[in-house]
């Protein structure tokens, strides 16, 4: 993904965008969303996981979760359900809506990055592409999503 991005941005884009035909521009912009999004998403992902993670958030984030979801348990249940239900490849997100000052759970398809796609600020993302879990959990995506809560770095998320 990172390998694909510079090649596209460095050469084809500069060259092709100036030609003016829509079709190379569209396929290049698709490549940017896919590979750029993949780079953004995974860069976030590594930071929100930790071998010493797990448990629950504290302070402001905990209060906000209670405010917007009722309880941490309700938030967790919702997040697991929504992330597991992604059709095909994608991500489950806890995002911050700056306009409404509320937390939201949303999902995105493929490598569509959260902020560029929805305007929400990504706080926590769960990769539910099959490559993220298949070798260990096989087809049991919901089990993987539930277990990932054991390694969420709530300090980073907060």
């Amino acid at each position: 993904m990172v390998a694909n991005l510079p090649a596209c941005v460095g050469q084809k884009c500069v060259g092709r965008l100036s030609i003016g035909s829509d079709s190379p521009r569209l396929s290049i912009s698709e490549a940017i969303v896919f590979n750029g999004g993949g780079h953004i998403n995974h860069s976030i992902f590594w930071t929100i996981l930790s071998p010493t993670g797990g448990g629950e958030p504290t302070n402001d984030l905990a209060s906000q979760i209670r405010l917007d979801f009722g309880s941490f348990e309700d938030f967790k249940k919702n997040m697991i359900e929504r992330s597991s239900a992604v059709k095909g490849s994608g991500w489950g997100w806890l995002g911050w809506n700056r306009k409404t000052s509320k937390l939201e759970i949303v999902t995105t398809q493929n490598q569509d990055p959260l902020e560029a796609t929805t305007g929400l600020i990504p706080l926590l993302g769960i990769d539910v592409w099959e490559h993220a879990y298949y070798i260990q959990y096989k087809n049991l995506r919901a089990e993987y999503v539930e277990r990932i809560f054991d390694i969420i770095d709530w300090i980073n998320v907060a």
Partner: protein
């Protein structure tokens, strides 16, 4: 008692069922592992079948109550699970332990005519299939209107015919579950090896039926 029985028969919908594989789980080795085949058929395809039946039951109920909103809400689940059922049912037949090589007869002639050569077709389909972003399928399909074969790809479980109008001839599943345990992230290797199990007899029958 007779009346109850008749009414229950009339009320019963035809449920989707998981088709049996025409071969053992290990039969496509070394090209596709037994582990993959077993999970793919008995878990993934089975889940599409179950969820399709659930969605169809809910649709029948919503429809009989005139709840159009609910019907529309169920459309996604039916497309996803129905598509998954359709796609995989074709897929198991599209592969064979005696597969590989090249097609013969009318399909071979059509490939020659529409792609220039079998090698050119294979390269085109492999490239398009590998390039699918995310989950999806690569297809050789028949365009009835134009009387031509075409390579196409579909996202997720969107079924070829319902989505594009093309009649499916042969397809390659490139959801990661179709290859990850064996090929890891190297999707091109999997797609290249798929040709060793391609069932040209089945593809030929589909082509004959589609182009009749």
């Amino acid at each position: 008692m007779m009346r109850t029985r008749v009414l229950s028969v009339l009320g019963r919908r035809t449920k989707a069922t998981l088709p049996e594989l025409p071969y053992e789980y290990h039969a496509l080795e070394p090209y596709i592992s037994a582990d993959i085949m077993e999970l793919h058929h008995s878990k993934h395809h089975a889940t599409y079948v179950n969820n399709l039946n659930v969605a169809n039951e809910a649709l029948q109920e919503a429809s009989s109550k005139g709840d159009v909103t609910k019907c529309v809400q169920l459309a996604n689940a039916i497309k996803f699970n129905g598509g998954g059922h359709v796609n995989h049912t074709i897929f198991w037949q599209n592969m064979s332990p005696n597969g590989g090589g090249e097609p013969e007869g009318p399909l071979a002639e059509a490939i020659q005519r529409d792609f220039g050569s079998f090698a050119a077709f294979q390269a085109k389909m492999s490239q398009a299939t590998v390039a699918v972003q995310g989950s999806g399928w690569g297809w050789l399909g028949y365009n009835k209107e134009a009387g031509r074969l075409q390579v196409a790809t579909c996202a997720n479980q969107d079924p070829l015919e319902a989505t594009t109008g093309l009649i499916p001839i042969i397809g390659i599943d490139v959801w990661e579950h179709a290859y990850y345990l064996q090929y890891k992230n190297v999707r091109p290797d999997y797609v290249n090896q798929f040709w060793n199990v391609a069932n040209w007899e089945d593809a030929g029958s589909r082509f004959s039926a589609a182009s009749a």
